[in-house]
């Protein structure tokens, strides 16, 4: 039975592939993956493994200039606190799914 459960979990992980997660994403969340890779690679950091709290505080810092950026400052200004929180929760939940 445990083996079966593992297979089932592996199946679920498959569903959360890079293009889109299975749950309806909050507004804006699907855009992140256009630049931020699912796994660390290249100059743009991956968001995998970050807590919702960290994502929210970084977005806040981009917005108010507390953190220097090339482009995230311009993008973060397009999202309210509530929208940012919803995106962060969604990203963190997606990435919290067990890896195969």
């Amino acid at each position: 039975m445990r083996g079966l459960r593992r297979i089932a979990l592996a199946g679920l992980v498959f569903l959360t592939g890079p293009a889109v997660a299975a749950s309806p994403a909050p507004p804006g969340a699907l855009s992140c993956g256009g630049c931020h890779p699912a796994n660390p690679a290249g100059a743009i950091p991956s968001l995998a493994g970050r807590s919702a709290g960290e994502i929210v505080s970084q977005m806040q810092a981009f917005r108010d200039g507390g953190r220097q950026a090339t482009v995230m400052d311009r993008i973060a200004k397009g999202f309210s606190d509530d929208e940012t929180r919803a995106i962060a929760d969604w990203l963190a939940a997606r990435d919290a799914a067990p890896k195969p």
């Binding site: 297979i7 993956g33 890779p37 090339t70």
Partner: protein, 434 residues
């Protein structure tokens, strides 16, 4: 286990954690069925996607990941990406870095029809392919990109493009323009004719001018580059203009519409470009003609008199033909530019909307993002960004967000933006083709 974010509409989450029985059934039916139990293992929605570019390939993957039965119609066995193709023209990059196969999509459970779609019957909900096959669909996504409009500029047709390349679809045209530059004598004149709005990749002609100028400065320093433009203003104009003055002084000249820059006729044999007041003869002529949605969009009746496709900004469903969604360059996406970045975001939003619609739910209004990088020289890039949301039936800029790279950024910042451009390309092509 996955947790579900609260639904933006405030309604309770619609997809319960699957029961063991559902899991077993899902395993039996292939893991894909699990992704959208609400769509139902009983009647998985049949979705056909026309066009395997940034829009279509990304959308097909997102739809398949959500458990739908997806057929991607794309006649070409490989995809050649336009972003960074200006670097290929300037000899800074090889075509192999631009070229992708569809093998990854086959692995993702997508059925590939390696054919061109020749007709869409929106009433019967069927797509006809060039071998006569008919594909029925519950929802159709069209992402055919652009066609060069060979009726819009006298003298410029498909055969003229063999002499004066547009290089606005990456592939042979890109290599032709590169070869022409390589064989041009030092001291020659290169002319780029830039089209009126709207067109694919608004900053693209000016990135191309920058990188061709880099090539000329490095290899043929006595040459000149002239840009004849059908517009008086263009994307990132102040940034490009400052860069040309700084990096390529005396080499690049831009003539806008009111200066007589609009090309009204060309003669490919003599490489002559005719403007309202003048005639210019080029050693290498790059004609970027007016464009319109891919022919199949016009055939399907989803394009309007402008040649582009009006859509609902929440679902990307056609305003003209129900059941058909249009994404990417072919769509009229309001303030969003025709970019690969935009096509990627639209693809995922459209896929999510299709999943919701097939499940009988109403999709929530999305937000979308765009960032377009342009190289001024190797390791030196600028960007324009925007955030968009539906407003009055169109995708509109979110006020206060987006904008350009700073005018006087340090070379470190410009180098960082160039590195981000590369990283973006790797991610976005991965989402489509990996």
């Amino acid at each position: 286990m996955m947790r579900r974010a609260p639904s933006p509409t405030g309604s309770p989450p619609v997809m319960p954690r699957p029961s063991r029985r559902a899991v077993l059934a899902g395993l039996a039916a292939g893991a894909a069925a699990l992704a959208a139990p609400s769509v139902g293992a009983q009647t998985p929605g049949r979705v056909v996607v026309i066009g395997g570019g940034f829009g279509g390939a990304t959308c097909a993957r997102a739809l398949a990941a959500a458990g739908l039965n997806v057929t991607l119609v794309e006649p070409s066995g490989t995809y050649v990406a336009c972003p960074f193709s200006n670097a290929v023209i300037a000899g800074l990059r090889e075509m192999s870095a631009q070229t992708f196969t569809y093998d990854g999509l086959k692995g993702a459970g997508i059925t590939l029809a390696a054919r061109a779609a020749t007709a869409v019957d929106a009433d019967a909900r069927r797509v006809r392919l060039d071998d006569g096959t008919e594909l029925p669909y519950d929802r159709l996504v069209m992402a055919p990109g652009v066609d060069m409009n060979f009726e819009a500029l006298p003298g410029y047709d498909a055969s003229a493009a063999g002499l004066m390349p547009h290089a606005w679809k990456a592939g042979e045209q890109t290599l032709l323009l590169r070869r022409q530059l390589e064989t041009m004598k030092d001291g020659g004149t290169v002319i780029i004719s830039a089209p009126p709005n709207p067109f694919r990749c608004p900053p693209g002609p000016y990135e191309r001018a920058s990188l061709i100028a880099h090539y000329l400065k490095t290899h043929k320093p006595r040459s000149k580059l002239l840009i004849l433009d059908a517009k008086d203003a263009f994307s990132k104009q102040r940034l490009f203009t400052a860069a040309w003055a700084e990096l390529y002084p005396g080499l690049v000249e831009w003539v806008g519409l009111s200066g007589g820059g609009r090309v009204i006729e060309v003669d490919p044999v003599t490489r002559t470009l005719v403007t309202e007041f003048d005639r210019h003869t080029a050693d290498v002529a790059n004609i970027i003609p007016p464009q319109r949605a891919g022919a199949i969009a016009r055939q399907a009746g989803v394009a309007d008199a402008t040649g582009w496709c009006p859509i609902d900004p929440v679902t990307f469903e056609s305003r003209l033909r129900p059941g058909i969604h249009v994404i990417g360059d072919a769509a009229i996406a309001g303030a969003m530019p025709k970019s690969a970045f935009a096509a990627n975001g639209q693809a995922k939003v459209c896929a999510a909307a299709v999943v919701e619609l097939l499940a009988g739910r109403e999709p929530a209004p999305p937000k979308l993002v765009n960032t377009c990088y342009s190289l001024l020289a190797p390791g030196n890039a600028i960007s324009i960004a925007g955030v968009y949301q539906p407003k009055n039936g169109l995708l509109a800029d979110v006020e206060g967000a987006g904008g350009l790279s700073p005018q006087n950024a340090s070379s470190e910042v410009r180098a960082t933006e160039a590195a981000y451009a590369e990283a973006w390309f790797a991610t976005v092509t991965g989402e489509a083709f990996a």
